[in-house]
Assembly symmetry: C2
Homo-oligomer: 346 residues x 2
């Protein structure tokens, strides 16, 4: 059987803030069967994860190149791969069968032709929406869990600051920190997000950074005794202000630098004298380094979701055509929670 398969490409490398016009939707004829003897698998994509790190792969010269295998450069005009959940339509591979649900590195497309090695796992059954496996139960959840618990070694009662706190990772860090018994303040870019953090997610406090003139004073106001743990998703001025306000032996986990992804001129210049005198540690990390705690993370997080202690915030758009605006929106702060493309109804 032949279908039309829509997929997303970049027209050219993207060096600054991405725009919808940098992307193009292409359509190709696509066969929903595999040749006999082939090991290929045909997958209908159901949920596509939209993540800011992809912007690094779209640059002509990326600092990520070579550093991590799953962040190979994206070629203009070629399909873009990322985390996707799909259903097997046809399989030449004995390990996968029609209607299997699989999570893997597939194309930003309606259908994907995949090799076994690109399938990360089979999803046997799910009491939750499948999309959770891309966010709270996937690498976003693991980023939040491992970055917070493994890197920052937080202790009950400590003061925790989270930037981009309504984002896919930030909202989970704040919730994990509250579950541990920390005092948690988040920042975000709108009153609506601030209200969500305080009213739905249980943050002790939150502020809209766009309404603040002097971030040093802002953080001093929310943390008069200083910050023990800063979970950094943004870099830039917020990182500088956090360093000024860190306590002695404060820990900074750098998960992302959204303010710097799209603006190479924008760099944090943390006061290294503070870093020395306050013995601050600043650590970059990737969730992929913490597969050793995946099971622990997964079981605990399942329990938290089941018992209602952890809320899941998703921001869902339909159709492959909405991928460019969904992706571009990440850098404008459009999304609240995990950004997902839902193709299940299509």
């Amino acid at each position: 059987m032949e279908v039309k398969n829509k997929y997303v490409v970049i027209k050219h490398h993207i060096e600054d803030a991405p725009k919808e016009s940098n992307f193009e939707i292409k359509t190709v004829d696509f066969t929903l069967s595999v040749e006999s003897g082939s090991d290929d698998i045909i997958v209908k994509n159901l949920y596509i994860s939209i993540d800011p790190y992809q912007i690094s792969r779209m640059k002509s010269h990326s600092s990520s190149q070579g550093a991590i295998s799953f962040a190979l450069p994206i070629t203009p005009g070629e399909p873009i791969d990322g985390a996707v959940i799909g259903k097997v339509v046809a399989s030449g591979n004995a390990k996968f069968h029609k209607d299997d649900l699989v999570l893997g590195v597939f194309s930003w497309a309606e259908y994907s032709l995949v090799k076994e090695g690109n399938i990360l796992r089979k999803i046997e059954s799910s009491e939750f929406p499948l999309s959770y496996y891309l966010g709270v139960l996937g690498f976003n959840g693991l980023s939040a869990y491992a970055g917070f618990f493994e890197l920052c070694k937080p202790v009950k009662g400590e003061k925790v600051f989270v930037s981009a706190a309504s984002g896919a990772v930030g909202n989970l860090v704040g919730q994990y920190a509250k579950l541990l018994g920390c005092y948690v303040v988040g920042c975000a870019g709108s009153q609506k997000k601030v209200a969500l953090l305080k009213e739905k997610l249980g943050f002790d406090d939150a502020f809209n950074y766009k309404e603040e003139k002097d971030l040093n004073s802002t953080l001093k106001r929310y943390f008069p005794d200083g910050i023990d743990v800063y979970f950094d998703n943004v870099g830039g001025e917020m990182l500088e202000a956090a360093i000024v306000n860190m306590k002695t032996f404060g820990r900074v986990a750098v998960c992302g630098v959204i303010s710097e992804y799209t603006n190479t001129g924008m760099r944090a210049s943390p006061n290294m004298l503070d870093v020395v005198y306050k013995r601050i540690s600043i650590k970059g990390f990737l969730a992929a380094d913490f597969l050793n705690v995946f099971e622990d993370f997964f079981i605990k997080t399942l329990d938290y979701i089941r018992s209602g202690k952890l809320k899941v915030i998703e921001d869902v758009s339909p159709a492959v055509e909405s991928i460019p605006s969904a992706f571009v929106g990440l850098f404008r702060g459009d999304n609240i929670g995990k950004k997902i493309i839902n193709l299940e109804q299509e």
Copy 2:
């Protein structure tokens, strides 16, 4: 008995690069005996340690203030305290006797009136010059040892970069790294220093940063496969270039930021995207946090010195009058090795 006691003061707070004219030598009448019933101890200072961190205490508003007890602000016109080795001249304290050798926090002066709490330890006997207890066997040595081994967790064969490598701490880091079996490159500010590193201290290579135009390329030349451990004594552009050249899971120990101490406009802006993708850790530290490894450090370092495996580099000036130029010279790179004032002959 009455003597004239010379001591050093700052005339006013020092915000930028220190100049000799910021300092003044004062003279007061000083009694070399203690009142009966007093707990005081009179010490003749023999060796005075001259350390760059003191500049932070001389600023009107210091990031160190409050962060660490031994870095309280220095008041203009008042005696300056620092690490000193002296000989007890008179004591009202039963624990200390005439001619005891003591290491403590005393004045930048010929004589000090001290309280017991300011004495860190008695030196019972020494097979080495007493001054070693201020440098290689003191906090400089502990900084090098703990910062390198405890913070950076180096492994034999790893590639190590040390800045200010001919300085009091840097030269020891390089030597410890060589003793562990690492590949070690140092940078310094003159050909004479570079020659010392390569010919006397056994560094694998060394360069004069003042002759380099593009530090990124320089480090790429010396570390074509990247840096595992960067022991940072300078901050600024060198830190930025090191981050660019770090390997995945590279570790940066920030011991000092000599390029930033005297120039608050000079700040490193490390690429945080590199920090994330290469999972780099950047940690500030103070030797005082590692007293738990002091004995281990001390015994090993004694052995290394005895066996000639570790060379001791000191830069000695005589007389209290030379303290201002000795101190100011630290920020001009005048010193090679540990800067010491020797008052023993006076």
